[in-house]
């Protein structure tokens, strides 16, 4: 069997020799996926915007971005397969070969690495016998080095199918992967009650909720440190002024008196046809299209011309030749 047409849901999604998904979906599957794809496209004013979620959908079906999945997206969006592949290869969450049931990501960006992420990485690579972007032979786990995942106050962090496992140690991370391989449910520290599979996760990322948003905590202990400290000390932001006072404050540009009862003519310009469009009020002096970000800077910097820089460049050039 060199070409597998169907991967039954729930089967290990690891690298299966010969599994290529090179031919298309069967009619029933394509019909089901096309209905999902139509739902995704309907969320956007232009259908091409549906491509990223649609690639997540393909991963939900095949466990990776398969050739048939690329062909499916291309057909749905009237693109070439090359155009779809160009996008799929840009983003790290799209897998080019069958992914394990669980992606285990160890943050090895600077802060997590320093706090112990490197040690966790060493432990897991040795324990699982796989390296970055490799899958265990049982198809359970794909191990990844990951970049900062916005949980630095819980460093070192491990993500399993992009759920948070905070404040990890080599021993705790090892226990997590052992349980995953045994098929025992594993609960993240901040997230759903248990980790779902890679395919289930991919379907959520395609924008199809799994009804688990209300599971888990609202915030972990580090998230709450400031909130609770402020309560303990009695620190508060300034009180909101009382509503009457505030309403008196706010009719700066001479429009309809703020705070007046809503009436038909006060109905504003949500459709862009209003009498006082944003951007035309007094005081809005910056020109449309003018520089708007401090990240914008001219292509030349003062250091291009400074004597110090010239000297440094000369020294560097010398060093290169030495």
């Amino acid at each position: 069997m060199s070409v597998q047409h169907e991967t039954p849901a729930g089967s290990p999604a690891g690298r299966v020799p010969g599994e290529r998904h090179a031919t298309g979906y069967d009619d029933a599957t394509r019909e089901r996926l096309a209905a999902d794809a139509a739902e995704i496209m309907a969320r956007y004013p232009q259908e091409r915007s549906a491509l990223l979620p649609m690639l997540h959908l393909v991963q939900a079906e095949d466990g990776y971005v398969s050739p048939r999945g690329i062909a499916f997206c291309a057909a749905q969006l009237s693109l070439t397969t090359a155009e779809v592949s160009a996008v799929a290869t840009f983003y790290t969450q799209y897998k080019r070969h069958p992914n394990g049931t669980y992606t285990v990501g160890v943050c090895t960006n600077t802060l997590c690495a320093v706090m112990g992420g490197d040690a966790i990485w060493e432990e897991l690579t040795e324990h699982l016998g796989v390296d970055h972007d490799e899958t265990t032979p049982d198809g359970a786990i794909t191990l990844e080095r990951i970049e900062c995942n916005a949980a630095c106050d819980y460093a070192p962090v491990v993500m399993v199918n992009w759920e948070f496992f905070d404040d990890q140690t080599p021993a705790s991370a090892r226990e997590v992967v052992d349980r995953l391989r045994e098929g025992v449910p594993v609960a993240p520290t901040r997230g759903a009650a248990s980790v779902c599979t890679f395919r289930e996760m991919s379907r959520v990322l395609a924008g199809f909720p799994d009804g688990r948003a209300d599971e888990g905590v609202g915030a972990g202990p580090a998230t709450l440190r400031g909130t609770l400290l402020a309560k303990e000390k009695g620190w508060r932001a300034p009180d909101f002024p009382d509503v009457e006072h505030v309403q008196g404050d706010v009719s700066p540009s001479g429009g309809a008196p703020a705070g007046q009862a809503r009436s038909e003519d006060a109905k504003p310009a949500a459709t862009g046809a209003g009498p006082t469009p944003a951007g035309q009020q007094p005081g809005a002096d910056p020109k449309v299209g003018a520089e708007e970000s401090s990240a914008q800077r001219p292509a030349t910097t003062p250091s291009d011309t400074s004597a110090e820089s010239q000297q440094r460049r000369q020294r560097t050039d010398d060093a290169k030749e030495s």
């Binding site: 004013p45 915007s49 549906a50 990223l52 997540h56 996008v87 840009f90 790290t92 969450q93 799209y94 802060l111 690495a113 320093v114 040690a119 390296d131 995942n149 916005a150 630095c152 106050d153 460093a155 993500m159 199918n161 759920e163 140690t169 959520v204 990322l205 909720p209 948003a213 580090a222 998230t223 709450l224 400031g226 909130t227 400290l229 402020a230 000390k233 620190w235 932001a237 002024p241 505030v246 309403q247 404050d249 706010v250 540009s253 429009g255 309809a256 009862a261 006060a266 949500a270 862009g272 209003g274 469009p277 944003a278 299209g289 003018a290 970000s293 401090s294 030349t300 910097t301 030495s322």
Partner: protein, 444 residues
């Protein structure tokens, strides 16, 4: 002494804090009701007067950004919320959306009304599954309650909101790359001008705002501009989330007026971990030049941090004590920039690759006498020579680390960093490293 001022984080400890019911019980959606009684232009003015500046890093005045939109021409205008939080060290928007997603939804509704947008997008990075679940559910709840959808609260105002998941790319936090990604393309920055205000999503006028910026809008609507400016400094008004991480006793989120100092925040967080001293820190993520103990009293507002030679950025305060090799830290950051450079601009694509190679040999104790100058020269050839700020950001840790800790780079010509600074001394737990002196941060 400056104290904390929880606004966005005030009710994160509430039972089921993420639900609409909890949000309403704590005063939620008063801001939207008030906004719908106002003229859109007056809301823009109010936010301008509040002095709210972008909380995503650049610090551009939010109200002014809204004001850049050209006059309505009858076609669509868009709000896109940048929820692609990925800057190393930055961890404020993700917990905000997990604990209190309705604050963002309310901010989206108000902002959309103010700029005349009827379809807004929230671009959440794809690597935070539960946060994406919470945002989807929050938007669904807001529709059910009539805060979104057709004829919001009976005012005739319409707004649809789409929550979109990314797929793993730091560069998509750059606003024009984010727009390309949202259009279903590779996430690469666009040449500006035209700016998104003129030609953004689908080449239509678009406002791109950070999560915390948008979530701060409802409070301004309820409290008024003067309430907001009663916090912070004259040019850096209001409250902001300060995220302490690393070698600090009680890491976490501390919401305070802008202008608070690291010394004050460290006091609240129990100080640097016991028995150790502060060595270096980032004021706003890895792309902002590092600071040292001499900067403990710099007020953390846009102007003061800039004057001291760095940037306020995202207020991601990563704390490193004396056990940490600055060479190791910078090398690992460079591995990140090299990995995440989108490849569009040669100076960034090739420069980060070169910088990493040079840094790796310094980390391994195999640097040459010319390597420090070579690093600085490479930085000179990246800074200001790429479309977006990624390349610029990549040079910040290098140039600042050489400025403050040149001797550690010099030591890299003869001694590996992990001999000078054994990594096990920095970790949160005890362990014995298996390998010494390996090249770090190599991505497959």
């Amino acid at each position: 002494m400056t104290t904390l001022a929880p606004v966005l984080s005030a009710h994160w400890d509430a039972d089921r804090s993420w639900t609409l019911a909890t949000y309403e019980d704590n005063g939620g959606y008063r801001g939207l009701r008030r906004a719908l009684n106002m003229q859109p232009a007056d809301i823009v003015t109010m936010v301008k007067e509040s002095g709210l500046r972008g909380r995503g890093g650049a610090g551009f005045p939010t109200g002014m950004k809204w004001g850049f939109l050209p006059a309505p021409d009858g076609g669509p205008r868009y709000l896109v919320v940048n929820a692609d939080e990925s800057e190393p060290g930055t961890c404020k928007d993700i917990p905000l959306m997990m604990a209190s997603p309705q604050a963002l939804v309310e901010g989206v509704a108000i902002t959309s009304y103010a700029i005349g947008c009827t379809h807004a997008f929230i671009y959440v990075r794809g690597e935070v599954l539960h946060v994406y679940r919470r945002m989807l559910r929050a938007v669904e709840e807001a529709y059910e309650a009539g805060y979104l959808g057709k004829d919001i609260l009976g005012t005739g105002v319409d707004l649809d909101v789409t929550v979109h998941a990314g797929a793993g790319a730091y560069i998509c936090g750059e606003e024009t790359a984010l727009l390309d990604s949202l259009e279903g393309l590779r996430g690469q920055p666009r040449l500006k001008p035209p700016f998104p205000a003129v030609a953004g999503l689908y080449a239509r006028p678009t406002v791109v705002n950070n999560v915390e910026s948008v979530a701060s809008v409802p409070g301004i609507l309820v409290g008024g501009a003067s309430w907001f400016t009663s916090m912070g400094t004259e040019r850096s008004a209001g409250h902001g989330l300060f995220s302490l991480s690393g070698h600090v006793e009680r890491p976490g989120q501390y919401e305070a007026p802008l202008g608070i100092t690291l010394r004050e925040l460290l006091d609240m967080a129990g100080g640097v971990r016991a028995g150790h001293q502060l060595k270096f820190w980032t004021p706003g993520g890895s792309s902002t030049p590092i600071f040292t103990a001499e900067h403990l009293d710099v007020p953390l507002d846009y102007e003061s941090v800039g004057k001291a030679g760095s940037m306020l950025g995202t207020r991601a305060l990563q704390i490193f004590d004396e056990t940490v090799s600055v060479v190791r830290a910078v090398t690992r950051w460079m591995a990140f920039y090299k990995h995440e450079s989108c490849g569009k601009c040669t100076p960034c694509r090739e420069g980060t690759y070169w910088l990493l190679q040079v840094l790796q040999r310094i980390e391994a104790g195999q640097g040459t006498s010319g390597d420090i100058d070579l690093l600085l020269d490479l930085c000179d050839n990246i800074l200001g020579r790429s479309f977006c700020a990624l390349g610029d950001g990549a040079t910040s840790p290098v140039t600042s680390a050489v400025q403050y800790f040149r001797e550690e780079f010099e030591a890299g010509t003869h001694t590996p960093a992990d001999v000078l600074f054994p990594p096990e001394r920095s970790a949160r737990f005890e362990y014995t490293p298996r390998r010494r002196t390996q090249l770090a941060g190599v991505h497959a």
